[in-house]
């Protein structure tokens, strides 16, 4: 993406020439919003332990449809990366573009629960009765991310994205066990949704902005969209097939 590269260097130049130390950028505002486009060699002590800012620079369509500030987006990014981390098998959630996938989803039908029954009266109900919140997924994510940040500050006196991976895991575990209080929904519910959305972003067709380069599929041995297996389905041996996306049709 030559276009992207040009933009990046413009921002890099801006950062360089603005005379502001990189560390001071963290924490929001116009300048903080550029951190996501920061450069590789910027691993100073104040760089968040979580997302390496450079991780997002690969993404073809960076930009927010739902999120507004970079801090929230980084909290989401780091949480998804803990759920689906980079390892020797291949990329984690961030490199796969999962945070961008979630951003897009929250901005659309998924985020506004437009195909679901959202009329009251609302009651908590039994677990066997399923989702009963008055909140949309967008509401739940927004609040959940605030709560992750809040919990990080409470427990470690630091922003979520600045925590050590083990500290992030501690907080995510507390959410998964419903030990954090949320309003109109539960932490466990938010966590389950976050986990599902992470996997959805890792493994859906790349047109949804996740599964970057089909690497999610490649790791898993899933060939994506293939027209037919009729010629190979009776074969004993495992078939390694280079994946194809719908866009390549």
């Amino acid at each position: 993406m030559p276009e992207e590269k040009k933009n990046l260097s413009t921002r890099r130049d801006f950062l360089k020439t603005s005379g502001v130390a990189a560390g001071a950028l963290i924490g929001g505002g116009l300048i903080g919003g550029l951190v996501g486009y920061n450069v590789n060699d910027n691993k100073s002590a104040t760089t968040p332990k979580g997302t390496s800012p450079s991780d997002h620079t690969q993404h073809a369509n960076a930009g927010f449809q739902f999120f507004k500030n970079n801090r929230d987006f980084e909290v989401l990014s780091n949480a998804t990366e803990r759920i689906f981390p980079k390892d020797d098998l291949g990329p984690g959630a961030i490199e796969l573009g999962v945070p961008y996938f979630i951003d897009r989803q929250l901005a659309g039908q998924y985020g506004s629960n437009s195909k679901e029954y959202m009329h009251g009266p609302f009651a908590v109900g039994a677990p066997t009765q399923g989702y009963q919140s008055r909140l949309t997924r967008a509401d739940v994510f927004k609040q959940g991310i605030e709560k992750l940040e809040e919990e990080a500050n409470k427990r470690f006196d630091n922003g979520f994205s600045s925590l050590e991976p083990e500290q992030m895991d501690e907080i995510l575990t507390a959410f998964s066990k419903d030990e954090v209080k949320m309003s109109g929904t539960t932490a466990a519910f938010f966590f389950r949704m976050l986990r599902s959305a992470t996997l959805e972003g890792a493994y859906s067709d790349p047109m949804y902005s996740g599964n970057n380069n089909m690497d999610g599929w490649r790791m898993k041995g899933f060939p994506g969209h293939q027209m037919s297996y009729i010629a190979v389905i009776e074969k004993e041996e495992f078939q390694k097939i280079e994946p194809k996306s719908l866009g390549s049709m």
Binding site: K115, Y131, K220, V232, E234
Partner: protein
């Protein structure tokens, strides 16, 4: 004010398999048929870009939009019922083809035992095998009476199969097309079950093994094993669906018209007849009254029951008194099974919706229940439907569900895990029923349908027993780790189980214990027919649609006869 529209011979509410079959048969017989469908038209050309797990399998693109209408659910009468806000446990259909567009295509005939379950159970085990709370009853028809209709359905769809199962009812004709390919995964199951003394056979499939033209002239292509079948439409026209079979057959006659985005809200009753239906154009909001000589409800289990309830046709079942038949005998499906983790990689991502092998050794009364605390059983199958990566993340029970360990395990096991599943029978219980909700409403101001349902002792016992059988098969298949399904406790609306809901508008030999007769003609309104799995007095040990289809063909015959001579068909 509703606009009244000119009378037609037959109005069909809902255009899935049942609506499509009735429409085709009646239109062929020269009746003027109108199909009203709340969803949209769709066809094979709409499925060309369908290999998209996220949109179709996860976000349910082809299924019912719950923002307009859903049901409420409670496990028992003391619990406040709450709306099913998201699809999960079952996936309701919407649009041309209904669920027949995105079904798997397992195509079964219920066992002879199913149709006479009360008589045969009592004969063999005495009248107290199950407590009085289980409302077991015969269906009013026998397998032998239904045999020709089963075949008609199978011929229309071109079902691929082999008649080697020693346990099912006698077939007068061979399957229209040969069985699907026996893959290495299926062969593992075959040799294990054979070794154990069971009788494996290829699962009868509506994903066709070869190109086929049905007796009505509709062509179905041969399956490509593309792995995007269950929850997807078939881009090859190789999965038998209403929109490539019965619908074009009806259209060819020039006696058939379809109106989409037409949501029926009432069946209009006058004395012992109905005069038509009221529906809304969901775009303009306009109301219409469509008059008809015959009204056919084919809007699936839920709305067939609901439309009768809101239209005050028939008597609502009351679990306190046992009076009333409408809403009675709601059943589901019990799903015992086992997962096996293997060392070797297998082509789990290839497959077709109905590619599988089955044993019936533990179905119906094919095994002795004298020393067991349940009746019936289920068909046990291995299926290779095509694993997809978002929803298939197999991990042994002690593995974390997120993080590094999860990632490693779920990726490793994606191509190394097999499942054995059972379509377990579900027996009616006096506390499981459908009624109208008194709080929640749909987009048209009608009360939502309310489901009161929980698993019973019978269900739990069946589940436990058959799960053990499936675990043993999986061990024999060579899995290094085998996990049986957790014992069932309370019915939970979360997590897909199966779209095999049954009952609520049951059929039978007498108006005292059924809603419709054996032609699915309503006991209280002779020109009203109610068609679907709602007619089942209990759910058997197979997927339902083969039996639904046979009943629909029998009903169509009844409607045609009624149109000539009127009166009760029984």
């Amino acid at each position: 004010m509703a606009t009244t529209l000119p009378k037609v011979d037959v109005v069909v509410v809902g255009l899935g398999w049942t609506g499509g079959i009735i429409a085709a048969e009646c239109a062929k017989a020269g009746l003027k048929v109108l199909g009203l469908e709340r969803g949209e038209a769709r066809n094979t050309e709409d499925y060309l870009k369908v290999h998209d797990e996220y949109r179709y399998a996860v976000r349910y693109e082809l299924m019912q939009n719950l923002s307009k209408e859903t049901i409420t659910i409670r496990n028992h009468r003391k619990m406040p019922a709450l709306p099913m806000r998201q699809l999960s446990s079952f996936l309701l259909g919407e649009g041309l083809g209904g669920s027949g567009t995105h079904w798997n295509g397992h195509s079964w005939r219920f066992l002879p035992y199913d149709f006479q379950i009360k008589t045969m159970t009592d004969e063999k085990y005495g009248p107290n095998k199950l407590s009085k709370d289980y409302l077991l009853q015969d269906w009013g028809v026998t397998y032998d009476e239904l045999e020709p209709y089963f075949y008609k359905y199978e011929q229309t769809l071109g079902i691929s199969g082999e008649d080697t199962n020693p346990f099912w009812g006698k077939r007068a004709q061979p399957f229209p097309t040969p069985p699907m390919k026996k893959t290495p995964i299926l062969k593992k199951f075959e040799s294990a079950t054979k070794k154990m003394g069971y009788n494996p056979f290829m699962l009868p499939s509506a994903n066709l093994s070869e190109p086929y033209t049905n007796p009505d002239g509709a062509a179905i292509n041969s399956c490509q094993y593309c792995g995007f079948c269950e929850r997807f439409g078939c881009e090859y026209g190789a999965k038998s669906s209403p929109e490539i079979t019965v619908i074009p057959t009806a259209e060819k006659t020039n006696n058939f018209e379809m109106r989409f985005r037409s949501n029926v809200v009432e069946v209009i009753k006058n004395g012992n007849k109905v005069s038509g239906v009221k529906y809304l154009d969901t775009l303009s909001g306009e109301e219409f009254i469509q008059e008809a000589e015959v009204v056919v409800l084919s809007s699936y289990v839920m709305n067939n029951a609901k439309l009768l309830m809101v239209s005050n046709i028939g008597e609502q079942y009351n679990p306190d008194t046992g009076r009333g038949t409408l809403g009675k005998n709601y059943c589901y499906q019990i799903l015992p099974g086992a997962t096996g983790y293997f060392d070797e990689q297998m082509n789990t991502f290839m497959g077709a919706g109905a590619l599988g092998m089955t044993i019936d050794d533990f179905n119906g009364d094919n095994f002795d229940h004298s020393d067991l605390n349940f009746i019936h059983g289920g068909s046990i199958s291995i299926t290779q439907t095509g694993s997809r990566p978002i929803e298939t993340n197999p991990i042994p029970r002690d593995t974390p569900t997120w993080g590094a360990e999860f990632k490693k395990n779920s990726i490793h096991n994606f191509t190394r895990t097999l499942g054995i599943g059972t379509q377990g029978a579900s027996m009616p219980h006096k506390e499981n029923f459908l009624s109208l909700d008194s709080t929640y409403k749909d987009a048209y101001g009608l009360p939502l349908l309310q489901m009161t349902y929980n698993f019973t002792e019978q269900d739990r016992a069946l589940h436990k027993y058959i799960t053990e059988v499936t675990q043993n098969i999986m061990k024999e298949m060579g899995a290094k780790t085998v996990e049986g399904k957790n014992p069932i406790t309370d019915y939970d609306i979360v997590g897909y189980q199966t779209t095999h809901n049954t009952g609520g508008t049951i059929m039978g030999a007498s108006p005292d214990n059924s809603v419709v007769n054996t032609y699915l003609q309503h006991w209280d309104a002779e020109n009203l027919f109610v068609v679907g799995a709602g007619n089942f007095p209990h759910n058997g040990g197979y997927n339902p649609t083969g039996t639904v289809g046979a009943l629909a063909y029998k009903s169509a015959e009844g409607i045609i006869k009624y149109s000539k001579s009127g009166g009760s068909l029984v």
